[in-house]
């Protein structure tokens, strides 16, 4: 009987071998994917097992943490003035995950980032608890407050950039939400979360980064830049060849202006001052789709940006025909932009044609304040030459001194801007979007460029215009930055 016994012994050995191989497969080959599986609660437990790092604005933390008991999560994130900072911080909820900076920089905030390995090891050796790192942002607390208060109960968003570096100074979105109301995992937290999710005003939408709006006349700055860059008109004070009304090419459709304004053969300066649809529509058609697309692209359209939070892609159609190109060039048709994108346009003009890459995080640091990552300024593109940028600045400053943007004037400061009133809805039946993009200039260049969009200020359609609703908010934001 010994021969079959030996074979049975081999068979039993194979059974154990199969188990050993499976153990290696599960615990080594598949280990990482199982460990980080979305259904693996250990991920969340680990996220809240230690005090979370802070998100810092102007040297002060806008987030924090508090110890909790009664659940497997030891700590809970807290937020100071949560609704104002929500578009920047996002939320960090035990039950519902993370978003925005809390999500993108999660590894640093929990202390799990590989670059914190050294600090972690030191902490283990010295018997300290694991500590999360901090995220130091570029935001300007005064500008953020001005933006958030300026929007008030209106629905809209503000994005402000320092044109010289690309640092994002303000990022506001209303209506907003307080992330601390659902930071835990209790039933109250779920109720608050569901309420916010179901709210038809979408308080959890980050309008400054993630919502694209038709920019309307504010887009004419890009069209003007394209005209100058492509040499269609070399002087901003020479007469253009622009009939009123302008018949869209290959169609019988008339393109009109809002009201009775002097647009026939108007100079670029005058056309921007009065916001002539006819002049800029014709420029778009004259330049053609490809040149317009190329210029829009240089300003950042059709590109998804990570600041490092993802910003939605702003759209400028690449497949349109000639009449559509004319409409797109005055910010209609399929043209749509995020507030951040519009701030980038003002920023590029203000910074003498150089567009700096926008960014939200100045540096990441360990709990002991040692820097683990520092931002270095990067040029995104140069949409227009310095000479042309100065011409465009002159045009935009005229808009503020004597055009549609007079509400943004700041005594003693040079301000350039452009209004926009974008119609939307079927037959334009919804309240238009009021836009204002602007920049302020000092002796040391331009410290702030801002874009403001207000979705629907009041029931009275007549009141809604970029100059009336949006420009005062932009002015307050610029003042906040200048007075700093």
């Amino acid at each position: 009987m010994n021969k079959p016994l030996r074979r049975v012994a081999i068979f039993c050995g194979l059974l154990v071998l199969a188990l050993l191989i499976r153990a290696n497969y599960v615990q080594f080959v598949q280990a990482d994917s199982l460990k980080n599986n979305v259904h693996n609660r250990r991920v969340a437990i680990n996220q809240y097992a230690n005090p979370r790092g802070d998100i810092i604005v102007d040297g002060k933390a806008v987030t924090g943490h508090t110890a909790t008991n009664g659940s497997d999560f030891k700590y809970k994130a807290t937020f100071k003035n949560g609704s104002m900072w929500a578009p920047v911080t996002g939320y960090a909820s035990q039950a519902f995950g993370t978003s925005m900076l809390e999500g993108v920089e999660d590894k640093v905030l929990t202390g799990d980032d590989d670059r914190l390995f050294f600090n972690r090891t030191i902490d283990i050796l010295s018997g300290k608890k694991k500590q999360g790192g901090d995220v130091v942002t570029t935001l300007n607390a005064a500008a953020q407050k001005a933006a958030f208060d300026g929007l008030g109960s209106k629905k809209g968003a503000v994005a402000a950039i320092d044109p010289r570096t690309g640092a994002i100074l303000a990022l506001a979105s209303t209506p907003s939400y307080d992330p601390s109301t659902f930071a835990g995992n209790s039933t109250t937290d779920s109720k608050n979360w569901n309420q916010l999710k179901d709210d038809k005003n979408e308080p959890m939408l980050n309008r400054a980064l993630r919502q694209t709006y038709p920019p309307g006349s504010a887009f004419k700055v890009v069209t003007a830049a394209a005209a100058l860059e492509n040499g269609l008109y070399s002087s901003i004070d020479e007469k253009t060849n622009s009939p009123v009304p302008y018949i869209l090419p290959n169609t019988t459709t008339e393109l009109k202006n809002e009201g009775n304004i002097p647009c026939e053969n108007a100079t670029l300066r005058v056309a921007l001052r009065y916001s002539c649809n006819t002049v800029f529509g014709k420029i778009g058609a004259d330049l053609g789709r490809d040149k317009m697309v190329a210029e829009a692209k240089k300003f950042g359209f059709n590109d998804e940006l990570f600041v490092p939070v993802r910003a939605a892609k702003s759209n400028f159609s690449t497949t349109m025909d000639k009449p559509q190109t004319a409409l797109s060039s005055i910010g209609q048709f399929e043209t749509a932009a995020t507030p951040l994108q519009m701030a980038m346009i003002a920023s590029a003009v203000a910074n003498n044609g150089v567009l700096m890459e926008p960014y939200l995080v100045q540096k990441l640091q360990a709990a002991n304040n040692s820097v683990i990552e520092q931002h270095t300024d990067k040029t995104y593109s140069q949409p227009l030459s310095a000479a042309n940028a100065q011409k465009l600045q002159s045009m935009m400053e005229t808009v503020v001194t004597s055009g549609t943007g007079t509400n943004a004037q700041i005594p003693g400061v040079t301000v350039g801007g452009k209004t926009g009133t974008a119609q939307h809805g079927v037959n334009n039946d919804k309240n238009p979007y009021a836009w204002f993009i602007s920049y302020a200039k000092t002796d040391s260049g331009s410290p702030v460029a801002v874009a403001v969009v207000v979705e629907d200020g009041s029931a009275n359609r007549g009141d809604i215009s970029g100059g009336g609703l949006a420009a005062p908010i932009a002015k307050k934001v610029m003042e906040a930055v200048l007075n700093k």
């Binding site: 153990a23 290696n24 599960v26 615990q27 598949q30 599986n37």
Partner: protein
């Protein structure tokens, strides 16, 4: 030494008893779990567990009693089996105690049953009963061949044990439990494993020649005669019935596999394995097609994470896999994992996930190798046994043990569909730990008989030195 003993005499020195080796190994088998126990306490509460002294003393007492019994009643038994079983039992107690500390499992039990009672004291009691049974086997079973007398009684007893759970309500979908009010619940399958081995060994020892020789050759295979085929069909039918009525894939696989292994060893005919595999394949596929409980298990095996999207079934397998994966190579350390996320049966059927998560791949492989070593010592005992009954019984017991390890560990690690069985010695559960101590006892008895030196020949008159006698 004097010169006189220079003459070679075949004496009964034989193999060394190895009892001191066993004792030395037992020291490790007790010290390792005690350290693990201290480790869990420090990791969870930051201090040494209060029950540490009594736990250490209890485990030492069990090991000492078992060792003394072996020394007295089975002095030539295999030296590895007892320390290995003690180590597994001790570590099992540590893991069960560690899961008793889990707030999540306490909450779950309170929510589900209204109260929580820790499993460790019960398991400690069952371990003591198990060791008592082990000692009882060594004392009462002077020779394993006595069991041969009970061949057909064993058959009846095994059938009763296997059929009994049908009359009791299913627990978590499987009817493998017998609930005795006031006493607790019993898993008869664990005992049936041993009793069936006794029956098979006795039956096959008698019938092996008929099964092996009276056969027709067909396409290179020896086909058994119809009447010899009878028993295998009966066992096959029985395991199918277990599968259908008790929806217990593991037990039916175990019994059928056990029978095929023993049949193969008894007859040395490969054709039986072919028949066995074919019949179990037919049975498994057939039952899976009709039985929804078995289907659910198979689906959970094919896609463990589907439960999160469909919401149907149990997420236990997925949770176990994530537990293993989160352990990685070296594990989180005792007491620092989250294997309690598995929920129910975390300390019984799924206890291996805690081993994998907290001791890592390294610890899990060590456990699997310990089990492998027990099987190997069992097979070695079968090889060393001098009588066919002992050989068959030893291979039956160790084969059943190996199959059980494979079915349980494979199920928990997602290698095969999950079945309702427990890891011997480690998992919480009275029947399992008691039955497996008895199993080790019988193996020790067989190995003692096998390694025991042949009794000294009776002094015969011929042994007297030849004398030259002057004959007148």
């Amino acid at each position: 030494m004097s010169v006189i003993s220079n003459t070679t005499t075949i004496t009964s020195v034989g193999a060394p008893s190895r009892r001191n080796t066993e004792l030395a190994l037992l020291v490790f088998a007790v010290v390792i779990p005690v350290f693990a126990y201290a480790n869990v306490g420090l990791a969870i509460n930051g201090k040494l567990p209060s029950g540490m002294l009594s736990y250490g003393l209890g485990l030492t007492a069990l090991a000492t009693v078992a060792h003394l019994a072996v020394r007295k009643f089975a002095p030539y038994a295999d030296p590895l089996l007892l320390p290995l079983a003690t180590l597994l039992n001790g570590m099992g107690l540590v893991f069960i105690w560690r899961l008793d500390q889990s707030q999540r499992l306490i909450q779950l039990a309170k929510y589900e049953y209204g109260s929580f009672s820790p499993s460790t004291p019960k398991q400690l009691l069952f371990s003591a009963l198990g060791v008592a049974l082990f000692v009882g086997v060594l004392i009462l079973l002077k020779d394993h061949r006595i069991l041969q007398r009970y061949t057909y009684i064993s058959m009846v007893a095994a059938l009763v044990l296997l059929i009994l759970p049908v009359f009791f309500p299913p627990v978590f979908g499987a009817r493998i439990w017998v609930r005795i009010p006031g006493v607790g619940s019993l898993q008869p399958g664990e005992f049936a494993k041993i009793i069936l081995s006794v029956f098979f060994a006795g039956y096959l020892m008698v019938k092996r020649d008929a099964l092996a020789l009276a056969s027709r050759r067909f396409m290179g295979l020896y086909l058994p005669r119809g009447r010899d085929l009878g028993p295998i069909l009966v066992i096959w039918g029985l395991s199918i019935l277990i599968l259908v009525f008790e929806t217990d894939l593991g037990t039916s696989l175990l019994f059928f596999g056990l029978f095929v292994i023993m049949l193969y060893v008894a007859t040395e005919r490969t054709s039986w394995i072919v028949f066995g595999l074919l019949m179990s394949a037919v049975g498994a596929v057939g039952v899976t097609t009709f039985e929804s409980q078995v289907q659910g298990r198979v689906n959970a095996w094919l896609d463990p994470f589907a439960v999160f999207t469909t919401g149907k079934g149990s997420d236990q397998v997925a949770q176990a896999l994530m537990s293993f994966g989160s352990g990685g190579i070296f594990g989180t350390g005792l007491g620092q994992g989250h294997s309690d996320l598995i929920g129910f049966a975390a300390n019984s059927d799924f206890i291996l996930a805690t081993v994998g998560e907290e001791l890592g791949l390294a610890g899990l492989m060590a456990f699997l190798l310990i089990y492998g070593l027990i099987v190997e010592r069992g097979v070695r005992t079968a090889l060393a046994a001098r009588d066919p009954f002992g050989k068959l019984l030893a291979i039956g017991l160790s084969g059943a043990f190996a199959l059980q390890i494979f079915v349980v560990a494979g199920g928990v690690m997602g290698l095969i569909p999950l079945t309702g069985m427990t890891m011997p010695f480690v998992a919480a559960g009275g029947s399992s730990v008691i039955a497996n101590w008895a199993l080790i006892g019988i193996l020790l008895r067989i190995s003692d008989t096998a390694r025991r030196p042949a009794p000294a020949p009776a002094p015969s008159p011929d042994a007297e030195p030849t004398q030259v006698v002057r004959v007148q």
